[in-house]
Point group: D2
Chain length 292, copies 4
């Protein structure tokens, strides 16, 4: 049993908390919104009014918030909780943020003797509910070892991928691949529809060969019905590609298809579809070929 402070029990965070509680951990939660605080209460976690209360007495603190600036604010901001953490506390940030921001959090934590991991997750709401998230962890090996039981309650694939920030680097790579796998399915659907192919049969045979992918399996229904309910929101995937574009530029590498994928996701947001599932790349591909 570990005493855990959890900040940010939203769409993803709430089922993660539920799995931590189910695994026998004692979890104290804080959420900014009253609605989120209410919804997480049913998991059996105790719900508190401030981040300070959430982290008080915690051996492990987990943050799961929308973006890098949110993480920096709640950890190192003027009201951030870092100063009140005892040395030796383990801080695990599961948010998806820029590798550079993750390294800032690591550095700030190190400056206070707090152990730190960046541990972004993949697998969507379904993976969070089932406890089958993939978790890519950056930080020191001994801290990953210490976190393994807690992380194992939330995910089935927990991999130590490198030092501070490496978890976010791998999450970026993950988001490149997912966006691309979705987009070529989107274009394949346009091609198939234009030629009057039997779509279900086509997706069957694609799935059985080298074109098969988890994206095809999971988004098959969305592609066939053209209903794109989240899932993982376009706006969040777009945010991730903003992080990736900037990180690629900072690292001095050119990624031509990734750059184009970033524009397609940005267009979806600009067109008002930011709240759809990211498989809605197929909606944009269709609309690009249809009178407005």
């Amino acid at each position: 049993m570990t005493r855990i402070g959890f900040i940010g029990p939203g769409t993803m965070g709430r089922p993660m908390v539920a799995n931590l509680v189910a695994a026998g951990h004692q979890v104290r939660c804080h959420a900014r919104s009253a609605g989120a605080r209410e919804r997480v209460a049913s998991t059996g976690a105790s719900v508190v009014a401030t981040t300070a209360e959430a982290v008080e007495g915690a051996e492990v603190v987990i943050t799961m918030v929308p973006a890098g600036p949110d993480v920096l604010e709640i950890v190192t901001g003027s009201d951030g909780f870092l100063p009140v953490l005892p040395a030796g506390t383990l801080l695990i940030d599961c948010s998806t943020i820029a590798p550079e921001e993750a390294r800032q959090v690591h550095a700030a934590a190190a400056g206070r003797g707090v152990r730190c991991l960046d541990a972004p997750v993949s697998g969507g709401e379904a993976g969070a509910v089932e406890g089958t998230l993939s978790i890519m962890v950056g930080g020191a090996a001994e801290d990953v070892a210490a976190a393994r039981e807690v992380l194992g309650a939330m995910g089935s694939t927990v991999v130590h991928v490198g030092g501070p920030g490496a978890g976010q680097v791998v999450k970026s790579a993950n988001q490149i691949v997912v966006a691309g796998n979705l987009q070529v399915l989107a274009e394949a659907m346009v091609f198939l529809r234009a030629h009057g192919a039997d779509l279900e049969a086509a997706l069957d045979v694609l799935g059985g060969g080298l074109a098969g992918s988890t994206a095809l399996t999971r988004k098959r229904t969305a592609l066939l019905t053209e209903q794109y309910s989240p899932g993982f929101r376009v706006a969040l995937h777009d945010k991730d590609l903003g992080i990736i574009t900037a990180a690629a530029r900072a690292a001095g590498v050119a990624l031509p298809v990734t750059a184009l994928l970033a524009q397609l996701l940005a267009a979806l947001v600009a067109r008002g579809d930011g709240d759809l599932d990211h498989s809605a790349l197929a909606k944009l591909a269709a609309e690009l070929n249809r009178p407005a």
Copy 2:
């Protein structure tokens, strides 16, 4: 037992012949090159000197040649075998050619009372050897039914995807998706290397989540070792994207990422890497970011 004439026992065709023989069919083979004729002899098929001899007395004729003009020449050309086929013979073209060319073959066959299927395959040399190809079949339902036993000797996923040409349409969609899935892995590798990530761990965690794909599983070693031995040659995938680009244009649809993938494959060929495996998209992605 079916009497089969088989034209084109190359890298893919030879193991397809071997599986047909192993399934108890009587196969007569013709290949243009002496080397190919020699190599196919060890499968137990009888090898003949001309296409006319190969198709003589056959109930089913299978063609497996590099490109559309080859199919048109051997079937409907001045020395083509179509005029000598008895009405009712079943012609199965397993080559990957343009949907429009496939429809020409269907029409010519219909004009002579010959039954016809376009049945391109996916799965690479490994799939051909193991008899686990995905076969996407276009044509009449009763002809697909008649072909099912023969096709089942070569592939484990045999799907009727629509009328004449539909097999090639779905194969095109397959090649769009495969090229895209490979390219985003290529760009992800550039990103990961630029940030010094643990590449094996990174691919593990990508494979376990929404980024997972058959391409990732099968090309993992190639991506890690940067050795791109075929497999499926860049030059053939490039040829396929030429077919797709033209077919998309004929159908009046815009496919932005597909168009960019076609350029990247064309660049690989222009740079002298046409004989590498198509996972060599990762070689181009790396070279784009490295002094010449």
Copy 3:
């Protein structure tokens, strides 16, 4: 004074005829549509009912039709005029067609002792009316010399760019550059509008520096008013990019931005905007960023 047979007096062809007549040449015209025949009558050219009559007795035959198959049909088709031309006649094709098709026309003409030039034009309806077209001419130097007076009546820039087909090659290059120059203006407008810049002032300053272009000067009003009346139709520019994409593939070269431009023009056509001026690339760029 030269006796000229002119086939295809449409939007571009009619003012070209008018300038030939004004320069003192004797022009006999044929058009497929009755409307076109009527409109060209007012130029002072004589209008005839068939291509055969138009070319009868002509020293120079000029063709100006929509696409390659049209040229091949009227020149070398079953009712084509090539067989009735006396050896030594000069055939000038001003249509924009594939380099490969142009070379077929040259070869067919050579086979009959007919001299031949491919001479596509640039400059739009305005250039045709003013007689200021750019004409890029492929063929033998002595034939270009012989054609110079006639071509000079229609255009102010007449350049011999190489052997048979070279005119079409250069026209392709021209259409790549024009599409690209228009598209980056389109994206610049999106960027400027998103930031609330003074658009007229911005275009002034762009025009005065390294960003200046003929496209900016001629399409300035269209960009500012978002009214895209032709001009040069999207559908024709899209057709040209189909030619270019295929010619690049045949030549084995990769052109990434050109490929993307081809998709954007195809999307405009698919969205029902094929009859707008090609500056409507700015319409698509805007709509990509605006709720449907």
Copy 4:
């Protein structure tokens, strides 16, 4: 006569100083490097050892440095000169920086009663030497009026394009258009070379029609000789596209071709060609189609 403090007399800044001196202004210069200080001495400007000395007593202060962080450091940093400027001084930043950074400089200046303009320039070293720069100015109308004489000594096109930051917004649009105009010329050259066209004749005819551009005129020799000596360095244009990509994302707009241009410039830098002229996009286009 105006007393001017000038910070950053490099490749562009030095001839700008020379023109200010030639127009009768009294200029005090500071450069970080000893070499730059030495080179600017021959213009007749007085050269001083610190930014503080340069701005002392100045009515107008001009900054012309590589990037946004440089501007922020020398203006508002811990040793920045802003605190020592008397209220009413006119600060003109001619550097190319992010619109957002420009607005930070404006806000900081306003907080001290200092008047401020963002006034990036276009036209390259040649334009700086000849005093024919295009200058796009953001800020208050009365401040632009007050600056007009000074700016007119350096540029021939001085346009007030909007409020604080608008100069940088228009400069971004300028850099989008320039990169695109260069890239399509690069791809046109690949196409022309692949088809064996007469390159000089081709560029003549392109220049005479709708494909004409200032980029074509100025970079013609570079394109024909494949010698890409600056001019304007790839690394700087790449930096600008980093600014633009981020500004487009912040504004929520998708710019597909611009995003691809950003990758091509990044690739040039990654390949070691950052110090070439930006027309070296043609070098990359050629190398993409040639064995490494």
